[in-house]
Symmetry: C2
Subunit: 197 residues, 2 copies
DNA sequence: CACACTAGTCAACAGCCGTTGACGACCATG
DNA sequence: CATGGTCGTCAACGGCTGTTGACTAGTGTG
């Protein structure tokens, strides 16, 4: 029996294959439940190569997950519809199966301590702060954090917990409900009262 | 060298000690990162005894985490202040260190597949459905699910990710911001109009 | 051709995991 | 006192984990 043919000697392609396999696995199952051997098998190579290329599982995760999120362009544009843009983004995302979502990968891995740090930094630097910069009024940082919290909550409820109502509902109806709520955080007003505390 | 003295033969106390240690550990670190040996060590007994009492780690987790959440009483009372009650509950919870929070334990363990199912059932049965029963208007189930999503998001952002802005802020200011937002889901308004139908 | 270099494989390490069965120690009851 | 059943301990199983080093097979260069 001849052993299976070796991979062609292409370092760049192999590295990319590992990264792609890692992204898919981490997105679906989270950091803890994905083994180096799983990633290697999905990439069609030896487990040792994964370590050789990335040093350790943790660094592979960091490299696979970072540098992929580009939310900032969402924050640009008129603030009156910012809530709707955010709602539409989070709610229509993930409709293409097999898509890699760094946020989801991070959320699934959040219980892991180094990952929690990674996630905090990513959310803070790529979401909360840029968003807070575009908010007027007091408590901008707090309101941006609460917007992030709601967005994260929706992602967790729908994609991790797989809440039946959220997962099975029409996106349009969801956006219509969520958009004005996020917008309220954007505007920073309490409608019954008229002023911020 | 005499080995350390045996535990007094008290089955009920030992069982309770295991359960308490398991709750603390699962709340802090989640299902995956807590080993049977960790729980046993915290309870001061042999790892084998944990399995003897609970059958398996998974059943221990289920027993440790279920039957502890009693949110329903929050939903009773006047609906006009329901949003504030919810906001106050989620935001002031966990101020006593060492407290066990089943929701947090579940959230930290959510990536694990059987735990995700457990969590979905718990959230659905103990939160979404009772809450939806108290909501008027269309999309009651959806609006209740979105309230749950926001509450979960705040919990994740604050306790798992440890978002700096949320973790370090004054609870009163947070409640003032969150309460009217949750209330909007309660009232089911989509316009800026402040009146309920 | 012979060389150094690199890409890939293989086998194994040490350590952890959940779980099991055999084995003492204790206690209540006969 | 003897006996049966329960409580606790101990050691070990098989399987998994991330990681390492030795080894082979190709490639580009002198």
């Amino acid at each position: 029996m001849s052993s299976q043919p070796r991979r062609p000697r292409d370092a760049a392609a192999t590295r990319a294959a590992i990264l792609q396999a890692a992204r898919a696995a981490f997105t679906r199952h989270g950091y803890e439940r994905v083994g180096v051997r799983d990633v290697a098998a999905a990439a069609g190579i030896d487990p040792a190569l994964v370590i050789r290329y990335f040093g350790s599982k943790e660094r592979l995760f960091a490299e696979a997950v970072t540098g992929e999120v580009t939310l900032v362009d969402l924050f640009a544009g008129d603030r009156a519809a910012l809530g709707e843009r955010l709602a539409r983004y989070i709610l229509t995302k993930g409709e293409t199966p097999g898509a890699f979502d760094a946020l989801l990968a991070l959320l699934r891995s959040a219980p892991s301590d180094p990952v929690a740090t990674l996630l905090r930094d990513a959310v803070d630097k790529q979401f909360v702060r840029p968003l807070a910069d575009r908010l007027d009024g007091g408590d901008a940082l707090l309101r941006a954090s609460l917007i992030a919290a709601h967005v994260i909550g929706i992602a967790v409820a729908r994609d991790v917990i797989r809440s039946t109502a959220l997962a099975g509902s029409d996106c349009g109806a969801l956006v219509a409900l969520v958009a004005p709520v996020l917008q309220r955080y954007v505007d920073g007003e309490t409608s019954t009262d008229g002023s911020i505390a």
